[in-house]
Symmetry: C2
Subunit: 206 residues, 2 copies
Amino acid sequence: MFKLYYSPGSCALASHITLEEAGAAYTTERIDFKSNQQNSSEYLAVNSKGRVPALVTDRGILTETPAMLAFIAQSFPQAKLAPSDDPFAFAQAQAFNSYLCSTVHVAHAHKGRGPRWATEESSFADMKRKVPQTMAACFALIEREMLKGPWVMGEQYTICDPYLYTISGWLEGDSVDLSKLPKVADHRKRMSERPAVQKVLAEEKA
Amino acid sequence: MFKLYYSPGSCALASHITLEEAGAAYTTERIDFKSNQQNSSEYLAVNSKGRVPALVTDRGILTETPAMLAFIAQSFPQAKLAPSDDPFAFAQAQAFNSYLCSTVHVAHAHKGRGPRWATEESSFADMKRKVPQTMAACFALIEREMLKGPWVMGEQYTICDPYLYTISGWLEGDSVDLSKLPKVADHRKRMSERPAVQKVLAEEKA
């Protein structure tokens, strides 16, 4: 039995969908960012970074989306969510997820998380203004070179798909024109039709 | 036979050391950042992101350090550089490397790569001023909770170690006081004594 700590609208959605797709037995606990619950002493005892997601397992607590996604996939091999038996194909999936966490999510975070990296209000406003441009550039690369279609890695749905779906869900809010990203838009539609995605979104919105 | 594209002083050092530790057959090619070679048409054909490292394999080209490190480890299992047969332990190693790429390297990058996320000179200066604080906070967490000792994951040297060594090598330049980080300092010393590290540093400095 796993327990996922998440916050609606956060990147924890990728792990939440993956637990559902894997057929895992799990519970969830919502962390309320508006009341800064992620920095409460109770939650810092779970994840001292003060971030979501965090996954409680019987071996201990895991954090960091790419690691959690691969762990869930490898814990439920019958769900075929990662090509774990092929180191090169596995590395390609990991590289995609690593790009999402280290470049794309970071680009998006400059909209509202400026105080992580600067001190002045003028810098926060400057960072925020650039987000539509940086996110459009990231997704132009994804559209042109990375998203093989119909799924990220091609014919096989993998742990890359819920992660891309999670971050591409931020594009409208980041003022990126989805009409220039037809493959990404098609991927969003295809994801939204999956029963696991619909179930998880209903829970997170409840 | 692999081919590693790297630039001295960059995070490519982690992959370079790991190729050496694995006993891999490989060649290297240096990319000159001073002449902006990473954005030359020749190099963009290798890695359209215009970044190092990139690893040419007989299956194709890999990028993103955490994915490359796991790939090298899994390609040379006899070197025991990752606990690939234990999904939870493997995820812990991946989580550490994911933290380095998505949080610690990103914190450091705000010193000299401000134009990635903002437009104004005042913002770049503001970001740069905060780097000693953000890097000190990241490494305080690594010192207190993550670095088990003597190696990152404990008794077994893994792919987490050259990556930590690479990024901890930036601390003096980021004005972080290493005397407050005795475990990190000890890890640096221990790493610098390894023959593979000495060989790779000599090549990168040549």
